[in-house]
């Protein structure tokens, strides 16, 4: 179990370093969503299921939606969809 925790923590640190370094903002947001999900798993391992549910819904759900909406307004999603 402890090795799983090590693995997840290393993944977290890698995500945290990568997320702000990604060249495309879309990728940065998606890496951040992965970061949140892994945090939720870690909390599940640490016997805090309430936090795991909340973090999964907040970090991977609402935060990502808000980031994506901002990116949409700021035209950083152009080219990801065919416009008529």
């Amino acid at each position: 179990m402890i090795y799983l925790e090590y693995l997840l923590l290393i993944f977290l640190i890698v995500c945290a370093i990568l997320a702000p370094l990604c060249r495309r903002l879309l990728n940065a947001v998606l890496v951040f969503a992965a970061f949140s999900t892994v945090t939720a798993i870690l909390w599940l391992l640490m016997q805090a299921p309430d936090l795991a549910i909340t973090e999964a819904a907040v970090g991977a759900g609402i935060d990502t939606v808000l980031f994506l909406l901002t990116l949409k307004t700021a035209h950083f999603l152009d080219g990801t969809r065919d416009k008529k």
Partner: protein
């Protein structure tokens, strides 16, 4: 500078006509001030100088590295992770665990703790959400300044695409899935005192369900049953019930009176005293707020 010149300057300064510092001039051109004779400095036009930028960067990195170093040193002195007998295993945690069920009626001790033992914090937290929703209203609610014509055109185009494009699959999926998402959210809210979850997580799930539906079928469809007025009224009712119920209980507690609210049979849905209604209130506030965020970020109105 001769004595006479100094005197003229001083006289002018007393008269308020020519001030000693150049800041009284119409355009800001800091010359050498008479107090400390220095060379004229370049006016900052906004572009910081390279060495300033580098100084800032290097000092920020150094500060952070020093912070990490100090904190890592601190971590080695902290109680060991996962071992019993740490300082936080004291009488507070003991009472929360051992008498939590009896005193609050909640099987989920975390719910019991945040909605009964430390309910004031949670009240503040709902107020944070409410306040943020209102701040986002101030920022993004459409008015003639915040909605440039280009953006308005784009948003209209989005509506047209949404109306014309044949998104049968997405729409069918939304019609099919949204009730289940909402149902799951309601389950999490209502069972907040029995199982993991509670008002916040359940409210966010309900909000996500609404957002999903709005993304697939357009915000207009949602605004048929949930518009701005409904948002205001629902938010007001929930927060008012929360404030009323909790302040009643705070008042009784502070004045050393008995709590008349029945706790119910532990483990049943209708148990836990005020926890269930409070969870429902919090859940509704959170769901409303989350949908309001979406609507304001997306269209600036709903």
């Amino acid at each position: 500078m001769s004595a006479k010149e100094l005197w003229t300057r001083f006289a002018a300064w007393v008269n308020g006509e020519a001030a000693p510092a150049a800041r009284f001039e119409k355009e800001y051109q800091p010359k050498h001030s008479p107090l400390f004779r220095r060379k004229p400095r370049e006016v900052s036009t906004g572009q910081p100088k390279t060495y300033e930028v580098w100084f800032y960067r290097v000092s920020a990195v150094l500060a952070s590295v020093a912070l990490i170093g100090i904190l890592l040193a601190t971590v080695t002195r902290l109680p060991l992770h996962g071992t019993p007998g740490t300082p936080d295993q004291n009488e507070v945690a003991e009472r929360y665990v051992e008498q939590g069920l009896e005193e609050t009626g909640a099987v989920n001790l975390v719910s019991g703790m945040i909605l009964d033992y430390r309910a004031f914090d949670t009240f503040g937290e709902s107020c944070v959400l409410f306040l943020t929703a209102m701040s986002v209203f101030v920022l993004l609610w459409n008015d003639k300044h915040s909605l440039p014509p280009k953006l308005e055109a784009e948003r209209k185009e989005d509506d047209i695409i949404l109306a014309e494009e044949e998104m049968h699959l997405l729409r069918h999926a939304a019609h099919f899935l949204t009730p289940f998402i909402l149902l799951f959210g309601i389950y999490v809210v209502v069972n907040g005192h029995l199982s993991p979850g509670g008002g916040f997580s359940g409210g966010i799930i309900i909000g996500s369900g609404l957002i999903f539906y709005a993304t697939a079928c357009g915000q207009k469809t949602v605004s048929r049953f949930f518009d701005r007025k409904a948002f205001y009224i629902l938010n007001f009712i929930c927060l008012a019930i929360y404030a009323g119920a909790k302040s009643y209980s705070f008042f009784l507690g502070a004045n050393h009176m008995e709590n008349p609210i029945p706790k119910g049979i532990p483990g049943a849905i209708l148990s836990g005293g005020l926890i269930l209604p409070l969870n429902i209130c919090v859940g509704l506030v959170v769901a409303c707020t989350m949908y309001a965020f979406y609507a304001l970020f997306n269209k600036g109105d709903f």
